[in-house]
């Protein structure tokens, strides 16, 4: 750029110089006048000269050339030849030429041409000299670096604009100033030394601290040399930016989180940064100048030297010991894993090696942890009971665990990279693809596939089996992976089906049984309905007509006949009673129990009220305890108390003073044990088992009337309430009947 500007400028200067020459008219005018004067003088003062002398014309040409240059010279020569021949060469004032008179012309023309040529050459040289000077001046003036010219003592003779700008002085102030005035105080001795060095070695290159007019300093690079004339030429460059950059670069190196070490060709440490100090535990001074092998564990040192020399033979940027684990050796003797990058750096002292050292202890730890966790995960996946299969977005299998191997009867190493389709029955493949695609579009990370309904897997031997599956998706490095967890539910399905069948069978059986039972019940109901109707009617008729007969024949009947009719009538009545009792007993078996809370105290009072007619005017001592509230059917429980109490009343008939007690034993929380005790006829315990049988009687009808169905009814009611009944007794000493019944759960009632 600057060069261009310089050249253009130099050209402009040259042109300017040409324009400074006299104008063409003047130059040609001078030529014309010179020739005219030459002719006039020669013609008019020819007494002084040879008639044929062309000396003055020659002088005129020289003048014209000297003043006007080549063109006017040739112009003057032409005029001189024409004028000379006409006016001077004899015969005068004629154009005629003779060999002897033309001779002066033959001398004159070459001489003039020679002069013209000489002048022309001289002029050309002058122009180029001036151009060259202008060019150098431009360079000097426009150079970005400061340029000074000083005398051999060091005082400035000239300075350029850049130098002025750099130091803040004007040119006038600088010219005559000594070089030492422009440098920092401590640099002044160097100035003298520099001048001396230039004189002896003719070249000087160093950095100085320069001082500006305002006293501020800046670093400058100085190149100085002696010029042929003995003066000194100096070039000064402000290198503050370069310095700053270098400092910044130094800071970058110093502050780098990686350890950086520069090693000299011979293996000595040339430079380290702070991280190296931290990593290895040495201070900088302990490292500089020492062999790099001090940082290498002993067992690698020998090899390291070899490697280092190998690197020097073929220096290229590369990482050290690729594929091998590298270790650094700390000052305290401990080792740590490192990663090292090597860069050759060319310096004036040869190729140095810049090493970048990273402590990878943590990374190694993390890698180890990752490896362990992966191993664990693999272990878990492989020991899982469920098949775990991971596929990529192309449905290619990436993970295939042991359970999957067993389930599909296919080895994992063959399954990997295969399409999942291999394990899906063909008719489900399309549906499965759609499902995966739709699932991939959602952001749901896990979803049960059971919603698909029955899904099936395909074993390597072609067998299909029902599975239950759930799917999850994971995006890793921009790729989607789907993990499917599968469970073979063949057995479960079979068991379920079997269960269902069993259940159905059982249900059918229950339905059948229930129907049978219902039918039986209906039959029984119809039967007892018929019994009560159709069996009683004839009895009624027997008795009716016996009575009518007895009335009609009252006069004629002898006592025996009359007794016979009484017996017939009594038997019919007895049979009617039996039928009634049997029907009642049958009803207690079929009747539905409507369980409510029943206060036994109230129930006993009510029963005694009903019994009053049977008691009549007998003396009975009643010992009735406070009784619990129980759960049961009040009508049926009333029947129990009525039977037990009427029995007690009946069997104490022989006692002058009967004693009848109703009480409760200490029972459990759920059950109450109620008893009815009397001091009546009692019974022999060996017949206790017969007490509760239908039509079982322990007494003759003559002693105590009855048909033997009351206690059977009582037992049936107690049992149907989930209770138990039993009796204790002794002939002549009385009897006690116990029964258990469920207590009401709410005590406050």
């Amino acid at each position: 750029m600057f060069h261009c500007v310089g050249l253009i400028d130099a050209k402009a200067i040259t042109e300017n110089m040409m324009v400074n020459l006299p104008t063409s008219i003047l130059r040609y005018g001078v030529a014309l006048i010179a020739v005219a004067v030459g002719l006039l003088v020669t013609v008019n003062v020819d007494f002084l000269l040879d008639r044929s002398s062309l000396a003055l014309l020659f002088a005129a040409v020289i003048i014209a050339v000297w003043y006007g240059g080549r063109g006017p010279g040739l112009f003057a020569l032409t005029l001189s030849v024409i004028g000379g021949e006409y006016f001077i060469i004899p015969p005068r004032y004629a154009v005629a030429l003779s060999w002897d008179t033309a001779f002066p012309l033959f001398t004159f023309i070459p001489l003039s041409l020679m002069v013209i040529q000489l002048r022309s050459a001289f002029q050309q040289r002058e122009i180029s000299l001036r151009q060259s000077e202008a060019r150098y001046h431009t360079l000097f003036e426009y150079a970005p670096d400061g340029i000074v010219i000083a005398d051999p003592n060091g005082s400035y003779l000239d300075v350029n604009a850049a130098m002025c700008d750099m130091v803040g002085y004007s040119r006038d102030e600088l010219v005559g100033m000594h070089s030492s005035k422009l440098v920092a105080v401590e640099e002044i001795p160097n100035v003298g030394a520099a001048i001396a060095q230039i004189k002896s070695e003719s070249e000087y290159h160093r950095e100085w601290q320069f001082r500006r007019k305002d006293g501020s300093l800046f670093p400058g690079e100085v190149i100085a040399t002696a010029m042929p004339d003995g003066n000194l030429l100096g070039v000064v460059r402000n290198i503050i930016d370069r310095k700053k950059e270098k400092d910044r670069f130094g800071q970058v190196i110093e502050g780098s989180p990686n350890g950086i070490v520069m090693v000299e060709p011979g293996g000595e440490i040339n430079l380290v940064n702070a991280q190296i100090e931290r990593l290895f535990g040495y201070s900088r001074s302990e490292l500089l100048g020492k062999p790099i092998e001090m940082l290498v564990p002993e067992r690698y040192r020998g090899r390291h030297t070899g490697f280092r020399e190998g690197f020097m033979r073929d220096p290229a940027t590369r990482s050290m010991g690729s594929g091998r684990d590298l270790f650094g050796l700390r000052k305290d003797g401990t080792e740590f894993p490192v990663e090292i990058g090597l860069n050759p750096v060319e310096t004036e002292r040869g190729i140095m090696v810049l090493g970048t050292i990273v402590d990878i202890t943590e990374r190694k730890g993390a890698e180890e942890a990752l490896r362990r966790s992966q191993e664990q995960l693999a272990g878990i996946i492989n020991s899982a009971m469920d098949a775990i299969i991971t596929v990529d977005s192309e449905q290619r299998i990436v993970v295939f665990n042991s359970a999957a191997e067993r389930m599909f009867r296919y080895p994992a190493d063959e399954a990997i990279a295969q399409s999942l389709d291999r394990f899906i029955p063909e008719r489900f493949r399309e549906g499965h693809h759609n499902h995966i695609r739709n699932f991939g579009r959602t952001n749901v990370t896990r979803r049960s596939m059971a919603s698909l309904g029955a899904i099936f897997g395909l074993r390597s031997d072609g067998e299909e089996f029902p599975i239950e599956a759930s799917i999850s998706q994971l995006e890793s490095d921009g790729q989607k992976f789907y993990t499917v967890i599968l469970r073979d539910i063949t057995e479960r399905k079979t068991a379920e089906a079997q269960n269902r069948r069993l259940h159905e069978t059982l249900e059918n059986r229950v339905t059948e049984r229930t129907a049978d039972l219902e039918a039986a019940n209906k039959e029984l109901e119809a039967f007892s309905y018929s019994v009560s109707h159709d069996l009683r009617a004839p009895l009624r008729h027997i008795d009716g007509f016996v009575q009518l007969l007895a009335k009609r024949e009252a006069e004629k009947l002898d006592p025996t006949s009359a007794r016979y009719l009484d017996v017939i009538s009594g038997a019919a009545g007895k049979m009617g009673m039996l039928i009634d009792e049997l029907l009642a007993f049958s009803r207690t078996g079929r009747q539905e129990i409507r369980a409510v809370q029943v206060d036994l105290n109230a129930l006993v009072r009510e029963t005694l009220r009903v019994l009053e007619p049977a008691i009549g005017d007998r003396r009975i001592r009643w010992n009735i305890d406070l009784l619990p509230t129980v759960e049961g059917d009040p009508t049926l429980l009333g029947l129990v108390l009525a039977n037990l109490l009427s029995n007690a009343v009946k069997f104490t008939r022989e006692r002058d003073e009967a004693e009848i007690g109703v009480g409760v034993l200490e029972g459990t929380d759920e059950q109450a044990t109620v008893f009815v005790r009397d001091n009546g006829a009692g019974f022999d315990m060996q017949y206790a088992g017969k007490l509760f049988g239908v039509f079982q009687r322990l007494h003759r009808d003559e002693e105590f009337e009855g048909i033997g169905i009351g206690l059977a009814t009582v037992q049936r009611i107690v049992n149907r309430h989930g209770g138990r009944i039993w009796a204790e007794g002794e002939p002549g000493q009385g009897a006690t009947f116990y029964f258990t019944v469920k207590k009401a759960q709410r005590r406050d009632v």
Binding site: S532, R536, A537, H541, S569, G576
Partner: protein, 156 residues
């Protein structure tokens, strides 16, 4: 002449005879109209079939047996209590058994009394006597029972 009639619906001739015998003791036997089953009972009440030419007023009480061929007593009761023209006629169920089911249904249908015929004849006599005395002599029958033209009009 006593115009009060008792309608006895009973299929068993023994029962009919015993009932009549019992009523005879009260001198009420003449007023008894006996039919063999439910269909005849309704025919009588509606003056249909062989009773189409029946004259006279409605019975003061209907004694109904439950178990009868063709149509049982409950059915007759249902028809009577469902017909505004007959529903006011007192009905007494006179039956052999005391089935709870029958008892409940009879009262649901609006029976006026329910009597179980005792096995013992003396008790039976007592029962019949009470019925006769009460329904024929003591009880005042509903007004339209005596207005026979009205019943006929309603029916036609």
């Amino acid at each position: 002449m006593n115009t009060k009639t008792i309608l006895l619906a009973e299929d068993n001739p023994n029962d009919v005879e015993l009932t009549l015998a019992a009523l005879a003791e009260q001198n009420l036997a003449n007023a008894v109209m006996v039919v063999q089953n439910g269909v005849e009972a309704l025919d009588y009440l509606y003056r249909r079939g062989k009773f189409s030419e029946r004259s006279g007023i409605n019975p003061v009480v209907v004694l109904l047996d439950l178990k009868m061929p063709l149509m049982d007593g409950l059915q007759v009761l249902r028809e009577m209590k469902g017909d505004p023209a007959l529903k006011n006629i007192p009905v007494v169920i006179l039956t052999t058994s005391r089935e709870e089911k029958d008892l409940v249904e009879s009262y649901d249908l609006g029976v006026n009394a329910y009597v179980v015929k005792p096995v013992g004849f003396n008790k039976f006599m007592d029962a019949i006597r009470h019925i006769g005395l009460f329904w024929i002599l003591t009880n005042e029958p509903p007004p339209d029972t005596e207005d026979d033209s009205k019943a006929r009009d309603t029916k036609q």
